[in-house]
Every structure is written in structure tokens, then in C-alpha cells.
């Protein structure tokens, strides 16, 4: 019946692979798209959050009497209004679950505060002006404790312990004393020490990466309403309606059956909207005052409040090669600055840093470390950019020492299908060699660098991101006019409704205009994990291929009855079932549904779980000019090569790659959190935390390579994460080729670049 889509020649695809406009683009350009902050409900009140002014302190007591007495205030909550969350509580999510003790701490501090900006109380009032004024009437007694801000300071044996319950995971036997090192991960093979000592050439590098922010333009927001039966509805800007529901329910000790999360349009997430940030607080306020509550974070709260900047890092790497350029060893120590609460395991970023090279000797050791700064969260390919900034620069230094072309070096050592990943399992189909061949042929690599007023350089860097699969669900009903109506469990973070409409149109042989796709709320569609880890397009494609097959089977048996034929004899194409010749009788989906609507609904169901990974691989080439008077680095040209398996919509794929690269360039050159000695963020605004504008970046060129993933419908890979991984390293390598220095610190701001130039041996500047 349905040919295996993976085997289908790509040339036969009619809708998939086309450059189609987003199905929701018109609402976006006319201002009609509804984000949760646009919602207004009758009787709605407004919430504000009181936040800790100290980076580390014990909370002696909180007195809300004066705030509660203020005219216009309708509810006040503190940690006392939420059940205490035991250490070790989790909710289901992917393979590991999500730590609910942490989620509770992000949303409302209990007993202790761990960063400036952590919530300690919240107020709902008739308007925002009143709510803001009421915050000043809440009296919190703090006993200040010593803040520990630096990674190395927090790792030192004599450092004050920041969380009494944190014992380093990954050390045997289990340590007896608590530590600021939350976890330690080791990946090793062979004998890297001997390989480093014996190698013909080696390179060592230490890099420090400042914390940076996802920078989604829409601040976190929640609108909560509780009905007379106690059923709560939350309209949220979230990457996952089910994850949000589980978190809210657990924080409030509310049965999940008494709660619904409705995802509206999301104004960017990039990892920062996986966890809840105030949704449960808004529900509790709504329960207390029996009115709808709207909570919108300010930009300062977004940046400083712990809604998720990305981890900073301090990384040491050493790499070594034999004379012919054969890579012998990669050794690395990766220390990740998680901020005020334990962060993610460093395993993924360690894998990312070594996956693309066939290397017999590895010793990678990673640490997740807590400090007294805003708690961090995943950010697009989390950890990848930090790791690549270290390793891809070290590889470039090694090339310089070997006198070898950096592209030839990569070709010599590239991982291929079947070579071992750092964790020891063989790579499924990957197209790194195809990518490197494409780089070598492209003008961005073969064109000579045109001369400029200042020194110029060209840099190359690779990127890898593993991504994840987890689970996705969708169902399709067939409307009375025969058209498929799709409800999916994924929010639309990256044009998902549009690409999934393409998938369903392809499967049904219809036009994209004939398919309607909506995101379901957490009570109207089956459980799906959140939009993270470049998983949604791949796994939702798989779920929808299954759902389409299910719906078409049901339609086929109805058509068979109408056409008086055996179901398996019918031919289906382009929305029409046909009997075999000589009868040739036909019935369209529209006719079929008109004739059989009252026979019962047609519902096609699809679930994807444990889909093979769709690892992402890219190579980036970057030309820069370095103003040696000011240290300003201008990116002149930037080309990103990426294997996407199969581009469901090349325009959407380009958009993902271009945006991801520009985020990477922002962190590379402009973006970093600047903390004072007290742990206060000194650049908590979008003027001082400078994200790239249209004037800061060139046009990003993209080259799409397609190596389909086996056993995945249409062979789709993840797309959105890996393009953020190489930019900082590509820029750093270009700077090194231009002016002979390595800045060693991200972002590579003009001051730091100039400092590195002036500190270089032989510099004429004093």
C-alpha cells in the first residue's frame, strides 16, 4: 500500500522538500498571532514577583501583612503556600526525568536563596502599578551567607558548601561530604597521556566562556484561571505543554486531571522555556483570589531571575597528532558553571567535543559545578558551543603546528559511518566526509581572502550535536469535506505546523492548503515530550506517518464498501480511491466523508518513541577582519554546511541554520553576563547585554547536505541546534589566522581582542 517513505525517491516527493511559506506566517505579519501576554480575561488581575537581593542567604522570615492589607492587593504567596518538595523528586521526561526540587526552587525559594533574582514571594493586584508597589511592603529577613561566584573557587576543597544535599555523582565510592561539584563524568579510551607525550605535535589551550542568555524576545508569561470546580487552566509560553503540566501539578500537589496547559504562540524558547517560571505561582494566586491571574516577567527578571541563561565554562584541552596529521589523542577537562542549582550532566557536550574525529586515545573529564549566580538552563545544543570553542581551536593550533591545511586535517581524521562515537557505539549513517568535500569545492573556501584595511583571516570549525528522540503523539481526524485535521502534542517552536502539514499533505497526496495542523493543549492530545533536543520535526514526522497510515486504512475500508471492492484492491492517490479496471469507479475523500460522516469518526493515531537519533553535523567557514586599533572583529563572510538528512522545507531549514549561527556569533563576539563581586548581574538589559542587530552580522550562506537517517521516515535529521556550535570556534580560528593570537575568552569583545593582541610576544604595543 504505502511504499516505505525512506525508500521513496526524493524526486517523487510533491510537497516535502518544497520552499513553502509558513502556514501561520500571515497571522505573524499582521499582528494577529496570539501570544499569552496578549490574553485578557474578565476580572483578570496582575501578578508581580519579589526577588532576592542577595546571592546567598538564609531566609529568617517573611512578613506579608502590610502587602496583604494594601488596597487593590488580592493575594500574596510565599513558599509557605506550596508543599515542600523533597530532594530527589522528579517528573518523567526523556530518559532521566526532571528534578522537581530544582523546579520548585526556581519558582519560589524556601529557607535559602541561591542567587540574586530568585523568587521569594508574589503578589496579585488589580493592576500592575499596585502589584509593583505592594512588593515593597513585603518584609523579608535575610541572614547573608558568603557568595561563591567563580567555578574554581566553588570547586576548591575549602569552599563553603552551597547545597547541603549535593554529593558528587559519578565518584565511587559515593563521597561522604557534600560538594559544590554536582556530577563528574569520565569518557576514556586508550592511553592519551602516552599519546600526548609521544606525539609529533600537540596543542594545549584553556578557554573561559562567560554565561550567555537564550535571548528569546518574548519574556516568560502565564495566564491562570481556576474554575468553580477547582479545575485550573494555564495559557503559557512553553516548549512543552505536558512537561509544564507535570511541573505545575507537582508544585501545587494538584492531580494532573485538574489542570490543563494551553500553549499559545511562543516568542522564542531556545531551551529557556522547558521549565516553568511562574506558572504554578500564577495558579496558586488564582486559587487564592478566585480571579484569573496574569504574570509577565520583565526583561530584567528574564536575564537575572534564573529563567535560564546558559552555563559558563572553564575548559582545558590538549590534542596531539603524528607527523602525517593522524590524530592521536584528545584530553579535556570541562568545568561547567551551573549557577545556583545543579545543572545538566556534562556528558553530551564532552561527546560533542570529540565525536567528529577518529581518535584512538581519549580522556575527557567533566564537572557540573554550582555557584551563586542565576541558575542555568539548556540553550540550543547545550554545552556544544563551549566545547567546540575549546576543541576546535585546539585542532586549529595543531594544524598550524603540523603545517597542515585545516580542511585536509579534518578530512584525514573525520568520523565516518561506522566509526566509534566517544561512548563506544558505532556511528549510524553520517555525512561528515560529504560535508568536507563540499567545503573544499565551495568559493567560501577556494576564493582568496580579499585584502582589507586591517588584517583578515579565514577560520574553519566543525560542530556535532547528538540530539534526542523521546516521544511524540498526534492524531488526525477527517473533516466532513475529506480534509485531514491534525492535532499534535508538540508546540510550534520552529515552524512545526508548517513542516508537519507538508508531511501529512505528502502522505495523503494532497496540497498543503488542504491540511490543517494545530497544537493540542495538554488535555486534547496524547502525551508528548517538549520541543527540545532537535527532536520534534523528526519524531512528529514519524508519529504523523503512522497516523496518516491509520486514517487512510480506515478510509480505505469505507471506500471499499462504497465502491463494492476489496479494500486491498483499491488504488489510492491524490485524495481519490479507485477500483481496479474495468470498473475504474472512484470516490474522493470529500465524497467519501460526505457519504459516511455519520457512520462514525475517522481518527488516525500515531505515536513515536525511541526513534533512532538524527545526529547533526556541520562545518562552518568564516572570514573576519580584526581592527588592530580597537580590537573590533567584523565578520565579513560566513558559510554553514550542514547535513540535515532530508530538508522537509529548505527555506525553514535555512532559517533555522541562519538564526542559530547568528546566535552563535552573538555569543562569540558580544554576549556575556557581567557579574559584580556580589553576584549581581551588571548588564541586565538588552542595551548592555548586546545581542546581534542587523548591522552586526553578514548574510549567512547555507549549504545543505542530505544523508538520510536509516529507519526514520523520510530520513530526517535534527536541524536547529548544531549550527550554534561552531561559530565561536570558527571566528576564533579566523582571528588567530588574521592576527596570530587566541583570545581564550568568550565573548571575544574588542577589549579582550585588543588585550590579546597587545599581550602577544613581539607586539609593538606597550
Amino acid at each position: 500500500m504505502n511504499p516505505d517513505p525512506v525508500e521513496a525517491p526524493i524526486a517523487r516527493l510533491k510537497v516535502i522538500g518544497k520552499r513553502l511559506a509558513r502556514v501561520d506566517a500571515k497571522e505573524r505579519v499582521t499582528g494577529q498571532a496570539i501570544y499569552p501576554a496578549d490574553l485578557s480575561l474578565p476580572g483578570m488581575v496582575h501578578a508581580k514577583i519579589l526577588r532576592s537581593p542577595l546571592a546567598h542567604a538564609r531566609i529568617g522570615g517573611i512578613d506579608t501583612t502590610r502587602a496583604q492589607a494594601m488596597k487593590g492587593v488580592v493575594a500574596v504567596v510565599t513558599a509557605a503556600d506550596f508543599p515542600a518538595m523533597p530532594v530527589g523528586s522528579t517528573i518523567p521526561m526523556g530518559e532521566t526525568g526532571y528534578d522537581m526540587w530544582m523546579v520548585a526552587a526556581i519558582n519560589m525559594a524556601r529557607d535559602k536563596v541561591h542567587w540574586i533574582g530568585q523568587p521569594v514571594a508574589a503578589v496579585a493586584a488589580v493592576d500592575l502599578h499596585t502589584a509593583a508597589a505592594a512588593l515593597a511592603l513585603i518584609d523579608v529577613e535575610y541572614e547573608p551567607l558568603e557568595p561563591v561566584l567563580g567555578i574554581l573557587a566553588a570547586m576548591a576543597p575549602e569552599a563553603p558548601v552551597l547545597h547541603e544535599h549535593v554529593f558528587t555523582k559519578g565518584i565511587e565510592p559515593r563521597p561522604r561530604a557534600p560538594s559544590n561539584v554536582c556530577s563528574r563524568v569520565v569518557i576514556s579510551r586508550g592511553d592519551p597521556s602516552a599519546a600526548l607525550a609521544d606525539a609529533h605535535a600537540s596543542a594545549r589551550l584553556r578557554v573561559k566562556v562567560d554565561t550567555a542568555h537564550q535571548g528569546y524576545l518574548e519574556p516568560q508569561v502565564a495566564v491562570a484561571q481556576v474554575d468553580a470546580n477547582g479545575f485550573a487552566t494555564v495559557w503559557a509560553s512553553t516548549q512543552g505543554q505536558f512537561t509544564a503540566e507535570l511541573m505545575i501539578a507537582r508544585m501545587l500537589d494538584l492531580p494532573a486531571s485538574k489542570l490543563k496547559v494551553v500553549p499559545l504562540e511562543i516568542g522564542g524558547g531556545f531551551g529557556g522555556k522547558i521549565a516553568i517560571h511562574g506558572e504554578a505561582v500564577a495558579v496558586r494566586l488564582a486559587q487564592k483570589c478566585q480571579r484569573p491571574v496574569k504574570l509577565v516577567l520583565t526583561r530584567e527578571e528574564v536575564l537575572q531571575g534564573g529563567s535560564g541563561p546558559a552555563a559558563g565554562a572553564l575548559i582545558d584541552v590538549a590534542v596531539a597528532a603524528q607527523k602525517d596529521g593522524g590524530l592521536r589523542a584528545i584530553a579535556g577537562t570541562y568545568r561547567m558553571d551551573a549557577g545556583g542549582l545543579p545543572g545538566m550532566s556534562p556528558s553530551l557536550l564532552m561527546q560533542a567535543s570529540a565525536a567528529l574525529y577518529q581518535c584512538p586515545n581519549l580522556n575527557l573529564e567533566g564537572f557540573d559545578v554550582v555557584t551563586k549566580k542565576p541558575r542555568t538552563e539548556a540553550y540550543r545544543g547545550p554545552g556544544g558551543i563551549q566545547a567546540a570553542f575549546a576543541v576546535e581551536q585546539a585542532m586549529d593550533m595543531l594544524c598550524q603546528r603540523l603545517g597542515m591545511d585545516p580542511l585536509e586535517f579534518r578530512k584525514r581524521n573525520a568520523s565516518v559511518t561506522g566509526s566509534l562515537m566517544p561512548i563506544g557505539t558505532p556511528f549510524p549513517a553520517i555525512g561528515l566526509d560529504t560535508i568536507l568535500e563540499a567545503v573544499g569545492r565551495h568559493p567560501c573556501w577556494t576564493d582568496p581572502l580579499p585584502p582589507g584595511a586591517y588584517p583578515r583571516g579565514r577560520g574553519l570549525a566543525l560542530g556535532y550535536w547528538r540530539g534526542t528522540s523521546m516521544t511524540s503523539a498526534a492524531h488526525i481526524t477527517i473533516a466532513g469535506d475529506g480534509r485531514p485535521m491534525v492535532t499534535m502534542g508538540a508546540v510550534d517552536l520552529s515552524g512545526t505546523r508548517s513542516t508537519m502539514a507538508q508531511v501529512v499533505a505528502e502522505e495523503f497526496g494532497l496540497a498543503i492548503e488542504d491540511v490543517h495542523v494545530q497544537t493540542g493543549d495538554s488535555k486534547s492530545v496524547g502525551y508528548s515530550d517538549g520541543a527540545a533536543g532537535s527532536r520534534v520535526a523528526r519524531t512528529m514526522t514519524a508519529a504523523l506517518v503512522e497516523a496518516c497510515g491509520d486514517a487512510l486504512r480506515q478510509l480505505r475500508s469505507r471506500a471499499a464498501e462504497k465502491l463494492q471492492s476489496a479494500p486491498e484492491l483499491l488504488h489510492y492517490a491524490d485524495g481519490v480511491f479507485r477500483s481496479p479496471q474495468p470498473s475504474g469507479a472512484a470516490i474522493s475523500l470529500a465524497e467519501l466523508m460526505q457519504a459516511t460522516l455519520t457512520d462514525g469518526a475517522v481518527v488516525g493515531r500515531g505515536v513515536s518513541s525511541k526513534l533512532p537519533l538524527g545526529v547533526e553535523i556541520g562545518a562552518h567557514v568564516c572570514d573576519v577582519e580584526v581592527d588592530t586599533d580597537s580590537g573590533l572583529v567584523t565578520v565579513l563572510r560566513y558559510t554553514a554546511f550542514q547535513d540535515v538528512g532530508l530538508a522537509l522545507n529548505p527555506m525553514a531549514v535555512e532559517g533555522q541554520i541562519e538564526g542559530s549561527v547568528v546566535q552563535g556569533l552573538g555569543w562569540a563576539l558580544l554576549e556575556g553576563f557581567d557579574y559584580g563581586a556580589d553576584g549581581r548581574l551588571r548588564n541586565a538589559s538588552l542595551l548592555d547585554y548586546r545581542m546581534p542587530t542587523a548591522l552586526d552580522v553578514p548574510r549567512i550562506e547555507t549549504v545543505i547536505v542530505e544523508t538520510p537517517v536509516p529507519n526514520v521516515p523520510y530520513g530526517v535529521r535534527g536541524v536547529g541546534e548544531v549550527p550554534i556550535v561552531p561559530p565561536a570556534a570558527a571566528v576564533a580560528n579566523a582571528i588567530a589566522r588574521a592576527v596570530g593570537v587566541r583570545v581564550g575568552r568568550m565573548p571575544m569583545t574588542p577589549e579582550r581582542v585588543l588585550g590579546a593582541i597587545r599581550a602577544a610576544p613581539g607586539s609593538s604595543c606597550d
Binding site: K26, G267, R299, L493, L686
Partner: protein, 157 residues
Amino acid sequence: MKMLLGCTINAQEHTVLVDPRDTLLELLRERIGLTGSKEGCGNGNCGTCTVLLDGAPVNACLVLALEVAGRDVVTIEGVARAGELHPIQSALVEAGGTQCGFCTPGIVLAAKALLDANAAPSEDDIRHAIAGNLCRCTGYGKIVDAIAIAATRMREG
């Protein structure tokens, strides 16, 4: 104490009761219900609230509501006419110049201000015109393309 304010918004006369502390953005979003203009930062750094005030682009979060008394405001809701998209809007749709969409209304108005004043902008002119509008999704390339396409179409009628 609230005050009465008269102004023109999207060619319609409005008389609105405002709090003197209200910004133009609050007037639009909270008092009139025109929620197409977004608030990304509240202090003039992101451009998501860009509207036209007497034809010039402004950050609505930095203008007090009372300052617009007797003046003319155009928001994203007033750009398409009778259901027909403005060429900037249709070009953004076709060229993939909108992703999450949160910056898009502001970009449309910044671009409209540019094309109203300069029918044949260079790429540099376009990038300058939207330099006050942050976009975190697109990397700007497809937005710049769209504005250039719109300029060409508008010149050629």
C-alpha cells in the same frame, strides 16, 4: 487620577481614559486592545513595540500615552488594508522572514517607515532601518531580502 486623551490610531479617532503613568504601548495593548505591538524589554532596547507616530518609527514603550494627544499612530493592525497585505508583509511571508513572529510587527513598521521615505534603499539602508529591532530567530538575512523584494515591487507598482 485618570485623564481623557484623544488621538488617531490606524485612521480611527479614539478617546481613551488613561493613567498618566501609562505608556503608549500600554494604551494600545491594555486600553484599546491592539495587542499586535509586543513588549520584549519595556525600555526601548528591542524594538518589538515599534509603531509609527506621525509617520516616524518610535518605541511605544518609551512614549507616554499623554504625549500622543492629537497625534497620528499607526500600529501593525493598521498596515494591511481591507484584508490585503502590504507588500512588506507579503514579502516577509514568502521569503521566510518571520519565525517566532514576536519581532515581526515591529520590523514591519520600521521597514514601512523606511520605504515610505526611500523607495530604493540599499542593503545597508535596510539594515540601518531595522537595527533597532532585535530578531533572535532569523539571523536577519531573510528579513533584509523581504524588505528589498517589497521595495522593488512597490517601485514597479
